[in-house]
Every structure is written in C-alpha cells, then in structure tokens.
C-alpha cells in the first residue's frame, strides 16, 4: 500500500472521474512496485545535488527539508488520522526555542540541545493534546490554533527568557555544521530518519487504527479502539516531529524569532501538506518543494506577497484539492475497487 485507503476527500466522485482514474491505475501499479527504487533514486539525487548547484540553492533545499519534516509530521494528524490541526507552528517554535535557550542561556552542547527541541515539543504537545482531543472537528482545530497563539504570545512577551521581539541570535553550532553543504547533509540525514520512523508508524497496526479513526470514528470506537487515547498519542508524536523540524530550523538559521510561532507559519506548513497531497506519504515532501519555490517566486515578484499567496490558496482549494501527489495516487485505491 502506497497511499492510505480511500479518503473522505472524494465521496462525490462521478463515473467519468472514476474512468479517468482507472486508466491511470496501470501506470500507477508500475510506480507502486518500484517504490523503493524511486525512493532510493530520490535520496541519491538529493545527496548528489550539492555537487552541482551553488550555495543559495542548497540553502533553499535545506528549507525544503525542514518544511518536509514539519509537514510530514502534521500529515500524521491531518492525512492519516483526519484531525485538522491549525497550530503546528506553536510546537515547531517550542522545538526551536528550546534548543536556542539551552545553547545560548545554559551553554549546553549542540547534540544535547538538538535533542531537547523534540523532547520539549513532545512534552508540550502532550499537555496541549490532552485538552484538544476532548473536542472534535471544528473545535479541535480552533483549540490547536488558540494554543499555538498562546505559545506565540508567551515567546513574544517573556522577555527574560526569549528576548521577545529581538529573538535569540548568535546560536553557536559545531564547526563542521558551519558550511551550508554540511548542514544540508545533516538535515538530510535527520529528514530521512524521521520519514523512516513515520513510515513505520503509519504502516504499523497503530497507524492502521488511526486510519480507521479517520474513516469512521464511531465504528473505530465500536471495534474497541480508544479513540481519544490514540488521538492523544498521535498528537504527541506529531509534536515530536515538529520539534525535530524546529531544532533543524534553529541550527540552520542560528537564530530564532517569535514569528516562527505565528499562525502564518502554521498555514505554510498546512499549505505544504495540501499542495503535495495529504493522502500520500510523500505528499508533504513534494508540497514542501512546491511551496518553497512558489513562495520565493511570489516574494521576489511582488511586495504584496500574502495577497498573491492568499489568492493561490483559495484557488488551490477550489480547484486542486488532491494536491500534486493526489493527482497520481490518492485515487489509486478507488480505481482498484
């Protein structure tokens, strides 16, 4: 199985659409059976790229990798469990800030501080998650957004610890991570390990249970799944991966500022999921590439980038809901029926 089972996305598929999809299926089956080959090729390509392009592109790729970890983590919630979280940026920032504070204020070694990011984010998401999973659907989304903004406000106002508006700057990283190329390989390794762990999670019995919850919460409860507990566990797990992304970001930028906790950042992560296709394991990766490129182009072209971005988001949702990967494989399972 490459993509999760058929999703709540296309309940209203017409026959014509289904026909179109079955003609795609032959091609996709070929794609499926060579899955690991594709993944290996992609990894090899990513590893080889720094040899051929200049530093600014490598730095762009670093951002793609960081966004990939964050968006894939969020996708565990949105795509696999059907819980729409609107506050990933808060947890992401907890990771980044924990690492920054430990290095700058405490003087902790890089490795320890780097691990502290995900650990802190996991702890915070456990607490937030405990409240959030008490409500479902719209309320859940509201609560995640509200808590994320609370985190943003705390980082903004707690001057003594976080430096408020000035952020934390001059975060020291070990010498071998100074060059962008080396940091890129470090980020690549972290991304691959994270994605591997996520892959194992979504394909474990636990991961399948999450997909049952997404498809039908009532039935999931009926077959004895403790829905709230599962939701809390996956919320905490996504917090961990958002923390990894936060640590990576902190090490990449050598500074942290409150806007990384703001809801605009949340929406970037969500758009990366949506753009790539959230019912596909590698959707967030593809979406991250597309989003970073799009963002660069838009920011370079106009001063009013969020206007353009907003219009793109609206059009995207109106006409292109499956995302890039969705065009290929999200409908695969429907074609198989």
């Amino acid at each position: 199985m490459f993509a999760p089972m058929d999703s709540w996305e296309n309940v209203n598929m017409t026959n014509k659409e289904q026909l179109k999809i079955s003609s795609l299926t032959g091609f996709l089956h070929g794609f499926e059976s060579y899955r690991w080959l594709w993944v290996a090729t992609a990894v090899a390509l990513l590893a080889a790229i720094p040899a051929f392009v200049d530093t600014s592109w490598v730095s762009l790729l670093c951002e793609v990798l960081i966004l990939t970890v964050a968006a894939s983590g969020l996708n565990l919630l949105i795509g696999y469990t059907g819980m729409i979280s609107f506050g990933p940026a808060g947890l992401y920032a907890v990771g980044a800030y924990s690492m920054a504070v430990l290095i700058v204020k405490v003087g902790a070694p890089f490795g320890l501080a780097f691990i502290a990011g995900p650990v802190a984010a996991t702890a915070v998401s456990l607490v937030i998650g405990w409240f959030c999973v008490r409500r479902t659907a719209v309320y859940f989304a509201l609560l995640t957004l509200a808590f994320s903004q609370l985190i943003h406000t705390i980082f903004f106002k707690w001057y003594g610890l976080t430096g408020g508006d000035d952020g934390i700057v001059e975060i020291l990283v070990p010498e071998f991570l100074f060059s962008i190329e080396n940091y890129y390989y470090f980020a690549l390794a972290c991304t691959i390990v994270s994605l591997l762990v996520m892959w194992l999670i979504v394909n474990s019995p636990f991961g399948k249970a999450l997909q049952v919850i997404r498809e039908n919460r009532g039935r999931a409860e009926f077959i004895g799944i403790n829905v709230r507990k599962y939701q809390l566990i996956i919320f905490t797990i996504q917090g961990f991966f958002l923390g990894v992304a936060g640590s990576l970001l902190c090490g990449f930028n050598h500074n942290v500022f409150p806007p990384i906790a703001n809801w605009t950042e949340s929406i970037h992560i969500i758009i990366a999921c949506l753009l790539g296709g959230m019912f596909h394991f590698f959707g967030p990766f593809i979406g991250s590439i597309a989003f970073i490129l799009l963002d660069r182009v838009v920011t370079n072209c106009t001063e009013y980038s969020s206007l353009v971005l907003g219009i793109i988001v609206v059009l995207l949702v109106l006409f292109f809901r499956g995302g890039i990967a969705g065009v290929f494989s999200e409908k695969l399972s429907d074609g198989r029926h």
Binding site: R134, R135, V138, T153, Y304, S306, L307, V317
Partner: protein, 287 residues
C-alpha cells in the same frame, strides 16, 4: 472602574463572537476571516473619520456607514466564494477563509499602509462621570449600553420577525425551508452579511479604545474563539455570557496577576473543557 472596562471590553468581544457564532450556526462555516472583517471595520471607521473631519460628528456617521460597507463586502465574498464551499469538509472551509485573511489583510495594507492609527473619544462622549469616588469614562458606558441593546435587538430579530423565524428555520433544517419556498441561498447571504455587519460594527466601535494597526485581527479572533468554545458555537446567548466572563476576567486579572494576564482566557477555556466539554450553553456535537 475595572468592572466597567471589563464589561465594555466584553461587549466588543461579544460583537465579534456573536457574528462568528451566528454565521457558524446557520451556514455551518467557521469564518476564520471574521477577525479580518473586524479589522476592515476599524480601518474604514478611522479612514472615514479622518478624511471627512470637517463634518461634525463624523465618527458616528463612520460607525453607521463603515459596517454597512463591510457587510456589502461580506455579501460579495459570500456570493463569489463561500457559496461554492457549503457542505465541504470543514478543513477546506478553514483553509479558504484562512486565504481570505491573507487577502484582506494585504488589501488593507495596500489601501491604508502599515502605520498605526488611533482616534480620540468622539463627541459627546469625551469625558467621564464621577460617581461614588470612581471615574467612569462615558464611552465605556456607552459601549456597555450598545452591547446590551445589540444583544436584545438580535434576540428580538431572531424571535419576533419574519426574517428571524426564517433564519431559525433554515438553521434547523434547510431542506424543509427550501421546500416551503424560502430562498435559502438568499437567507445565507443575509446571515453572512449580518455577521459581517456585527464584526464591522465591533471594529468601528473599538477604534477609540485600541490602536488600529495590521495584526489587530489575530488577538480578537483568538479571543472570540475562546468565547465560542466557552459559550458553545452557534449559541448567541452563550456568546454573550462567554464574552462577559472573558472581558471581566481580563480586566480584573490584570490587577491581581499582571504576568498571567494573557493566559487567563486560556485557563478559563481549559477549565470549561474539563467541566463541560461542549461549552456552557452548547449542545453536544455529533461528528
């Protein structure tokens, strides 16, 4: 004094939250852009007031006209955009309204720049009255009265007019109302415009008290989220009570525990979630 400032702050939040709640109750769309609507109302009010300064009492004209412009804008958004997405999974509705926030706030920046604006207390509510040793700013007293009248006005509108009965009917069962010959999409537009009018009014009335600037929407929308979580989405009475509690908590909290001021709403929300997960006045939700 704290009581009054809490009550008047609560009334402002009420105006935003009730619009949010009303729209959600009828249209089943949670409009994240409601804060941006509020901001639009505030900017329009400041702009109208400062560009026509020579007209006496311009502020009140701006309070009258601004929200109507906002409502017209809301009607446009409803017809062009929201009408396409009713009944979709709420995540897409969320993302579309999120896109709207980006669009509206950049439009505001395009039109009015990213400076800070503020206006004075309008005539004739400049002063304060002294009663029993405390000073009570007239404008805050006015806000409390305005909030209460809007609350009763809305209740009367929904319960005693033909339009209100149709709105409640559509909220209850849109198919049956449609079969009965009511123009359901038209009612949706009207409700959305009413919600936007309330949001715009909140923005306009807030201008003498707050600094009008980009990003003012986010604070307000988070506060109204807290209110609707406390009160229950779709419940207008819940919005009123929730807003009052939040307003009072904010203004008293800031005296006793200023460091924790920002967290009070969240603590309250957390407490409500533990005790009554579906809100004080809300009904159990089904999914």
């Amino acid at each position: 004094m704290q009581l009054l400032s809490g009550l008047s702050g609560g009334m402002l939040i009420y105006l935003i939250a009730v619009g949010l709640s009303l729209i959600f109750g009828t249209l089943r769309v949670l409009n994240l852009a409601h804060g941006a609507i509020y901001m639009l109302g505030a900017y329009l009010c400041v702009w109208l007031t400062s560009s026509f300064e020579q007209i006496p009492g311009m502020f009140w004209w701006a309070v009258l006209i601004g929200p109507i412009l906002v409502a017209l804008f809301g009607g446009l958004v409803e017809v062009v955009l929201l009408r396409r997405i009713y009944g979709w999974h709420f995540m897409y509705q969320f993302i579309i309204t999120f896109g709207l926030i980006l669009i509206i706030s950049d439009l505001v920046r395009l039109l009015w720049g990213d400076g800070f604006h503020s206006i004075n207390y309008p005539w004739p509510l400049k002063g304060a009255i002294k009663v029993a040793g405390g000073t009570f700013p007239l404008y805050n007293l006015f806000l409390v009265m305005a909030g209460v009248s809007i609350f009763f006005g809305l209740q009367a509108l929904l319960h005693y007019t033909k339009l209100g009965k149709v709105i409640r009917g559509v909220t209850y069962n849109r198919e049956i109302m449609s079969v009965l010959g009511e123009n359901v999409p038209g009612i949706y537009t009207v409700v959305f415009m009413l919600g936007c009018w309330l949001g715009g009014l909140g923005g306009a009335l807030a201008t003498p008290l707050v600094t009008v600037t980009l990003g003012m929407d986010i604070t307000v929308i988070i506060q109204s989220f807290i209110v609707v979580v406390i009160g229950g989405l779709g419940s207008l009475g819940g919005a009123f009570i929730g807003a009052l509690i939040l307003g009072l908590l904010d203004s008293f909290g800031i005296i006793f525990l200023p460091q924790l001021a920002i967290a009070f709403g969240f603590i309250l929300m957390a407490a409500v979630l533990i005790v009554r997960p579906y809100g004080l006045m809300g009904k159990r939700e089904y999914d």
